[in-house]
């Protein structure tokens, strides 16, 4: 069974998924950061593959991508770093990135290598459902990878159902229509999450965008299975001399 499914079987509430950028803050930080996250008790890791033009991300995550690229991070290097990583990392890992670098790497080769290391799922925000169904979904499924679609408060109910039916790991509920790293009106977020909950979707729902600390995490978890933290975590890694300490403190502040 896929690690994502196993996780949701064992745990359906307060799932903490943390985003980190591969190759940030240093080229070889990828595994140590993931290890520190796992040791601090996160349930799942979303590993960002840096891209020059990350449309769905805000300035903090883009800056981490720019730094990672300057550090020399590439998809090929990432797969090198991930070789044998399952000896250390047991939590589900989802690769998040944009279509262009994946297409250059070769879409099928990418899926094959992702399944080989192995990671558990993919988030490609600029792969729309039409292209997924028409061409890419079959390749992703052939290699046993889960694929996670995003929904937003602007997504119609009919479309939420459709994206839920296509999603295979969980459904990523963007808390409001925005890029990552913006503060949100949590009341509006609550109403939206309640609506999702009432729809009794096939997939578990994790909430992302605007989740930055204990109160926002807890609030998101009231109506969803868990939440994803990105920007706030990347900020916590900025200019810290003690990465492990920073990770431990950040996660324990949220889980305490």
């Amino acid at each position: 069974m896929n690690r994502i499914q196993e996780l949701f079987k064992l745990k359906t509430r307060n799932i903490l998924n943390v985003y980190c950028t591969a190759g940030y803050p240093q080229l070889n930080s990828t595994l140590p950061v993931m290890k520190a996250l796992q040791d601090s008790g996160v349930d799942m890791i979303e590993l960002g593959m840096p891209y020059s033009d990350p449309l769905a991300d805000g300035p903090v995550i883009q800056a981490s991508s720019t730094k990672a690229l300057a550090n020399g991070m590439t998809i090929a290097t990432l797969f090198e770093q991930l070789r044998g990583f399952r000896q250390q990392i047991h939590v589900p890992v989802i690769l998040m990135g944009y279509m262009n670098p994946v297409l250059q790497y070769g879409f099928e080769k990418f899926c094959q290598h992702a399944a080989d290391v192995p990671v558990d799922g993919l988030i490609l925000p600029d792969l729309p459902e039409y292209e997924y169904e028409n061409e890419y979904g079959a390749i992703i499924q052939r290699y046993g990878l889960k694929f996670i679609f995003l929904v937003t408060p602007e997504t119609s109910e009919e479309r939420i159902r459709r994206l839920d039916s296509l999603s295979t790991g969980f459904l990523y509920a963007v808390s409001s229509s925005s890029t990552t790293g913006k503060d949100k009106d949590m009341n509006a977020v609550n109403n939206y999450l309640q609506k999702l909950k009432k729809m009794q979707l096939k997939n578990p729902v994790l909430v992302g965008f605007g989740i930055k600390d204990k109160p926002t995490f807890q609030q998101a978890c009231e109506h969803a299975n868990g939440a994803i933290i990105g920007t706030a975590f990347i900020k916590a890694l900025e200019n810290t001399p003690d990465m492990e300490g920073a990770v431990k403190k950040f996660i324990s502040d949220i889980k305490s």
Partner: protein, 415 residues
């Protein structure tokens, strides 16, 4: 709409051959879908057409002349006609599209307009129509371009627009486009994004091409008046994203006797490392919401192009043009910074017209297409694209050169 593609008409998913589509994050879906489902009904509504045509005529100054450039014709031993988009209000063809899109935005009930700009021409054209309609206007512009294009920044501000510097990535046009898209993601209800070229997710490439198609619509009847035939043998236009080329080619796309010649910016030379010749250097990829040819590293990171002309300084190309290149329907040439400068000075002296640096690239390609001059092109030129004394060549003079005077003055100083 059908699911077969013609050169003019992408399929229902916005594909021209292998290129196009809508590779957008879910956060943009509602806005793009709203546009996709409504744009054709809105723009072919008679009331829309009436207002659009009225503004093109009375406000933008259309039709722009088709001018038989006699001395230039003599110089190249053929018949050359200049489509004078430089005489449009704001000094370039960009206003054709912004007039169309502001009318569309109003009919969609949008209260706030955003745009990206490189050299500032599209920013000025957007700020202009927003002033005309009393709508809030925010223009994203790379921090580096703001420094390089001060007069256009001042024009936008005088027209009431807010100019926001794009400080991410390479701080130029592609990053300004990213920031505009992010703004749209963050303002999903009241905002319309006026993209300035035939790029972006479907339906933008098709919509912008339709608004710019007035250029070739006019060329046809103007040429008929002058020569008795609606069809030239050649249409030449510069290509960055490709909006003036799309407009100049549009009504000739399905006329196989008309040679369509697109001229990209070679910068210091196609293989110099400082170039913007996307069809020569790019590979298929996804940029700003569509699949097209993209200049990128082996790892799929988008690279920063170079051209002396800020309007051609873009690492992608519209999907229509990628398809024209891929299918062989269009001949794609390139001209270097130096060749464009020479062509600009030549037109000034021969015809008394100071062209924009962008348009000068199209003029520079005359050197390659003329068998008497026989300048060797870095890209192979199909034999039937060459011009003869019997050719009727229309060059789209997309903009005027006032904005480029600093560059021209520097070139004069160096002589």
């Amino acid at each position: 709409m059908t699911n077969t593609t013609t050169y003019q008409q992408p399929n229902e998913q916005g594909y021209y051959g292998k290129f196009g589509g809508a590779y957008i994050p879910e956060m943009l879906h509602r806005n793009v879908e709203e546009l996709r489902s409504k744009y054709l009904d809105i723009i072919y509504d008679p009331a829309f057409q009436q207002e659009f045509r009225m503004l093109l005529r009375d406000y933008a100054g259309r039709p722009t002349p088709l001018y038989h450039a006699q001395r230039l014709s003599q110089q190249y031993g053929t018949q050359i006609y200049l489509k004078r988009e430089d005489l449009c209000h704001t000094g370039a063809h960009k206003v054709n599209n912004t007039i169309g899109q502001i009318l569309l935005a109003q009919r969609l009930g949008k209260k706030r307009i955003i745009a990206e700009t490189g050299a500032g021409q599209h920013g000025v054209a957007t700020a202009t129509v927003c002033a005309l309609k009393g709508v809030e206007c925010i223009v994203y512009m790379g921090e580096k371009d703001i420094e390089r294009q001060a007069p256009n920044v001042a024009r936008m501000k005088m027209l009431g627009a807010t100019v926001i510097p794009a400080t991410s990535g390479s701080k130029t046009l592609k990053d300004a486009t990213n920031e505009a898209i992010r703004d749209w993601i963050n303002n999903p209800v009241d905002t319309h994004y006026i993209i300035g070229s035939v790029v972006g997710p479907h339906p933008y490439p098709d919509m912008v091409a339709r608004f710019q198609s007035v250029i070739s619509e006019e060329i046809r009847w103007q040429l008929k008046e002058k020569t008795g035939s609606e069809l030239p043998t050649h249409v030449l236009a510069c290509v960055g994203g490709g909006s003036n080329a799309a407009g100049a080619f549009y009504h000739f796309l399905e006329e196989p006797t008309v040679q369509l010649v697109a001229v990209e910016a070679a910068g210091h030379g196609v293989h110099s490392g400082l170039s913007a010749a996307t069809t020569q250097l790019g590979k298929p990829g996804v940029l700003h919401g569509s699949k097209s040819l993209v200049m990128q590293t082996e790892d799929g990171q988008v690279v920063e192009p170079h051209s002396i002309s800020a309007g051609l300084d873009y690492p992608g190309i519209g999907p229509l043009h990628a398809h024209l290149f891929d299918s062989g329907r269009g001949a794609f040439l390139s001209a270097t910074d130096e060749e464009a400068l020479q062509a600009a000075f030549n037109l000034a002296k021969q015809e008394g017209i100071i062209p924009a640096l962008e348009s000068s690239h199209a003029l520079a390609s005359l050197e390659y297409l003329n068998p008497l001059k026989a300048k060797r092109s870095e890209a192979p030129i199909p034999a039937n694209a060459m011009i003869t004394k019997d050719s009727v060549v229309v060059v789209c003079l997309s903009g005027r050169g006032d904005k480029d005077m600093a560059t021209y003055m520097k070139a004069m100083d160096m002589k």
